[in-house]
């Protein structure tokens, strides 16, 4: 038996953590909420939702309680354990990676939860993410400079990433102003 020092992407669990942070729920309903609220962002299947939930329970991040119902099937309501809540807050409060995928999926999710939990965080998240992207751009520029011109396609890949990150930065700007007009303007 190994010690299991695996630290992978572990991304989709955070969506579930977040929804359970907002309020406890059972798998079926949780999946419905995920689709309704963040369905364009996370593309989980129902069975994957259950898979993750079961894993998180084994790992002690969520706790499930069986609820009997007279007519409908039994269900298990999950809520976050302390370690689960900690995990989520850790993920929530630290900037996402500077990949496009991280921006599209993780960052936007973090904005969603920030907006629901403590909307003041939104500004900090956006500004920190800008820094993150700028750092990423600097590193990519450096890598580009270190990549000899014979490696045409490696350079193409780098160029592509740089362009995409620049475009993401612009989007971040617009995102900020959108939130600004949203909060000064009207009903949230």
């Amino acid at each position: 038996m190994k010690e299991s020092s695996y630290v992978g992407p572990r991304s989709p669990e955070n969506a579930l953590f977040g929804l359970l942070y907002l309020h406890p729920d059972h798998g079926y309903q949780l999946y419905q909420r995920l689709v309704a609220e963040l369905g364009e962002i996370w593309h989980l299947s129902q069975s994957q939702t259950y898979n993750i939930l079961n894993r998180l329970e084994k790992q002690g991040f969520v706790i499930g309680k069986l609820q009997q119902q007279d007519k409908l099937p039994d269900r298990r309501e999950f809520h976050l354990s302390d370690s689960g809540r900690l995990r989520f807050e850790e993920w929530l409060n630290n900037p996402s990676g500077c990949s496009i995928r991280a921006m599209r999926v993780e960052f936007i999710s973090r904005l969603y939860f920030a907006h629901r939990i403590d909307s003041e965080k939104v500004w900090r998240f956006i500004d920190e993410q800008k820094l993150q992207l700028n750092n990423g751009l600097d590193r990519l520029g450096q890598t580009m400079a270190d990549t000899p011109s014979e490696q045409v396609f490696n350079r193409m890949g780098l160029e592509f990433r740089i362009r995409q990150l620049e475009s993401a930065l612009e989007w971040l700007e617009d995102c900020r102003t959108a939130f600004e007009t949203d909060t000064t303007g009207a009903i949230t």
Copy 2:
């Protein structure tokens, strides 16, 4: 025992298929080539390379032959089987998906192999990929139109993807002109 009808992303195998298509090789060297040629595009580890190679052999897409060496460790040279070659050509000659990841990883790899195998294909690939992206944009626009304005964050995700795809389209244009000046200009 199930029938195993799984069809997943199956992406990284195509990089290996391509390199083996160019010429047969053993795992160690293949990994070196991958890093040197497409290291900024595919981020495989050495062990993952071997993993995939072994799987592909079990599935009959590549064939390995043991080569004894007097001093250095034995190695196994792999070449594509007919089904492997078919698989690769299938992947190579059909447009990549219209996600950013597909553009960055799969499309650029396909350009790399096209450039090495039959450089005339490059033009077709670029033009077909433009179509692909435009179709994707249309679908996203439609989804956006179908997404009620309450779903703020779903809309944010869609908006982000649209912007990124538009930026990718611009890159495709520039990519085309870069290839044009490359071929009219000078030494390939």
